[in-house]
Symmetry: D2
Subunit: 134 residues, 4 copies
């Protein structure tokens, strides 16, 4: 993968907010997952095709700091950077911005799993697409 | 099935609300789906076991009137009544109450589908559990 | 409003699917709500500004037919047409397509409500923006 | 608060699952939030009443390890323990079990915020209800 920093825009809708007037805290995990999917898609990797091979990606560990709230109608940007990719495991930094303001900062550990739920090495053609250091 | 009217309590949490201060309109569909699942469970029918037989339930059609809004901390009751059950298709009335106040009123058409996505007759032992009129 | 038919693309992510392998039935209501918000935005109407005036839009009634399922990675298009707009009430047709295939067809009745939860006429400048026939 | 360990049951429904067949990773945050709300309710603290005082609880930081997946129809138990409560900030350990198996383990930092979004000390009567060490 040539450019390891991936940027993905998110619009905030009714569904993302809660009665406090802010975006619901679990919604940011959805935004980060959409961005990871788009990063994969940009590298020509698609969940639908992975599923045919019996492979899915699962979040193994996640740390997130909520720094400032987002609101209805906001346009955010999810900035994703692959920090390490070894065997079945990827570690990514994901930050969410509203213009220049950082709203959340997260570190996410994702594991490729097989049909039996156990971690699996990515098939070589996928590892190559992701610039995976095996 | 002896008692065709099924009652199921729902508590409203942050996740169900939106920034208007009311419960988000799509959340009521989740509440009604939970109640249908519990109605099945009460008749000893479980999604996990249906899946092993290659059967799932899909909503085919839904009409809902939103009469009054629900709010955070509310306790609601979903009242479900099977109006008809023929072959693969069930038609249910589902109303959601807060004490004596009716908040939403819906008619839901649910179809049993097989692995290929086509409607399938329920296996006889399930039809019997549901008092299905074949 | 010049063009009464509004088209809005939706990408299907993990969050939208359920264990049946299809998109969860309530997710389509979110997609349609996003499209209505974008139709408003195209007419320079924003929820955040409406909220400052004490106005929100609430779904009053909804009918939806689920014709075919959507799946992970699909790109859908929500096609929205305002059928009538009188006083506080809008009636919209919303159809969701995957390329040429129609997946869902809905009729949605939306009402503008004030802080007290009662229907309110749209302020004239908003009605004009929407080509509202008062 | 007499018993600092709070236990809350969760049933898994269609809405909680994704096309991998497992529970969607963000859904566990909802389950933990429901459990925190019920822990507050057990201590006679209600979001609706907090909102009248201009107080809301916001998640400031969260770490979660996903150890094993949950599935449709599962009954889980969220076990919540307040580790510290000082001024506006609470730190809680939250673990989710399926019978004896631990599925997720989380540490959550929650802050009481006022209308302006800034941290606020809890009013004394609430601090007392929570056994808050000021």
């Amino acid at each position: 993968m040539n450019n390891k920093v991936h940027r993905f825009p998110i619009r905030i809708y009714y569904e993302d907010t809660d009665f406090s007037g802010n975006v619901y805290h679990a919604a940011y995990l959805k935004f980060m997952e959409r961005a990871r999917t788009e990063l994969l898609r940009q590298n020509d990797i698609h969940h639908f095709e992975l599923a045919k091979k019996g492979i899915a990606f699962a979040v193994a560990r996640l740390e997130i700091a909520y720094l400032k709230p987002a609101h209805i109608d906001d346009v955010l940007e999810v900035v994703t950077e692959i920090k390490s990719a070894k065997g079945a495991r990827f570690i990514l930094d994901q930050e969410i911005f509203r213009k220049d303001e950082i709203l959340t900062r997260a570190s996410v550990s994702v594991v490729a799993i097989g049909d039996n739920g156990r971690p699996v090495r990515l098939p070589q053609e996928l590892a190559i697409k992701l610039g995976n250091q095996t």
